[in-house]
């Protein structure tokens, strides 16, 4: 069964929220363990929740303090350069995802209109269903193809004369 998508908002149902918290907290710790082992790096995590008076500290309070010391001993610009909060992090994700959408969308449009072009060439498709925007794009695409064809024809001429 495919996973159900979780809405990115505060879970108002108390028991659902507690269940999610326990699962995701342990999942987060696991991911932290994995990255430190796989990449041989140092890390720590400090988590305050309403489910426990004391914070959940990973790897341990002592280890965390060592990481924090190393962190705080760096020059403030170094500390802040890659510091994120939810706003900045989400904004970054938004930017990157938007970029991906644009890039993929452009690629899809090109491939789609190429199919349209082939179908027009062979009479399988008429212009009735194309908008002005589609027609302009198609015109450009045909021109582009003509340029490639002409270059290829030139190549033939150069290599077959004399």
């Amino acid at each position: 069964m495919p996973r159900s998508k979780v809405k990115l908002a505060y879970i108002s149902n108390d028991s659902a929220r507690r269940t999610t918290f326990r699962k995701r907290e342990s999942g987060l710790i696991k991911k932290a363990e994995e990255i430190t082992t796989l990449c041989g790096v140092e890390a720590c995590a400090i988590l305050y929740s309403s489910y426990s008076p004391e914070p959940n500290v990973w790897p341990s309070p002592l280890d965390a303090q060592r990481v924090i010391s190393r962190f705080r001993n760096m020059a403030p610009p170094e500390q802040n350069k890659k510091m994120a909060d939810q706003q900045s992090f989400t904004r970054q994700r938004l930017e990157k995802t938007t970029e991906k959408v644009t890039k993929l969308g452009t690629e899809n449009q090109h491939n789609e209109m190429t199919q349209v072009m082939y179908q027009c060439l062979s009479g399988r498709l008429g212009f009735e269903c194309l908008s002005i925007g589609d027609l302009y794009y198609l015109s450009g695409l045909v021109s582009q193809n003509l340029r490639v064809i002409d270059r290829r024809l030139e190549f033939f001429q150069r290599h077959h004369s004399g």
């Binding site: 990115l8 879970i11 796989l38 995590a45 009479g123 399988r124 908008s131 193809n145």
Partner: protein, 218 residues
């Protein structure tokens, strides 16, 4: 344009990665994923968190909600943060902003899903098309001189017809059937009005006749 196939999900051994390049790529991806999970935990369950990670090169990345420093200070001093009205206002404002960003993000993620599906559909169509072997759909480099000439002629006529249709739409003031092919995926319609030409998949030279709308070139 064929996409380089990614390796998909691989089961890996949890031990230090030997190849430096892999290690750096893995770090980058996992760090991002870790912060994403932390951010989601904060949004979904209303917790506060601070994560500090050092990179293989010694640079430091950190993520915190509400912010890295306040959580670290709270941990070090073992004192709860001051519970002032100002703080409440700041928190409320920030949370509203994050909610808004999250809903924008959700929307864009859905758009990305849609484009990915569209991409898969197109790949599928392209595979089907290559099975039917219409010679004019081959890569231009694969065509012989004769075929190139025919294709060129057909393209020139197609371009003219497209321009005619564009002019026609302008004159009629009918600029918009809604774009059939842009954002919403493929809808290749076999219009009943089209009288396709002899669609000749062999290489006998077809003749280009009097071209009207919806008439084939081959």
């Amino acid at each position: 344009m064929a996409k380089k196939p990614s390796m998909g999900r691989q089961k890996i051994k949890i031990a230090k990665i030997e190849i430096k390049n892999h290690l750096q790529v893995t770090f980058s991806k996992r760090r991002s994923g870790l912060f994403k999970k932390a951010s989601e935990l904060c949004t979904l369950c209303g917790v506060e968190i601070s994560i500090i990670v050092f990179s293989p090169a010694g640079k430091v990345f950190s993520f915190g909600h509400p912010n890295v420093d306040s959580i670290v200070d709270q941990f070090l001093s073992r004192n709860p943060p001051p519970n002032t009205t100002t703080r409440h206002l700041i928190d409320a404002h920030r949370n509203a902003s994050v909610r808004d960003l999250n809903s924008q993000l959700t929307q864009v993620l859905n758009e990305l899903e849609a484009e990915k599906k569209r991409s898969e559909t197109l790949d599928h169509i392209r595979k089907l098309a290559s099975q039917r072997k219409y010679w004019w759909e081959k890569s231009i480099d694969e065509l012989g001189l004769n075929e190139l000439g025919q294709l060129r002629d057909s393209m020139v006529v197609l371009k003219k017809n497209v321009t005619n249709q564009t002019d026609k739409l302008f004159v009629e003031g009918n600029v918009n059937p809604s774009p059939f092919f842009s954002a919403n995926g493929i809808a290749m319609v076999d219009s009943a009005e089209i009288k396709p030409y002899q669609m000749n998949a062999s290489s006998t030279p077809p003749h280009v006749q009097n071209i009207g709308y919806g008439h084939g070139f081959f």
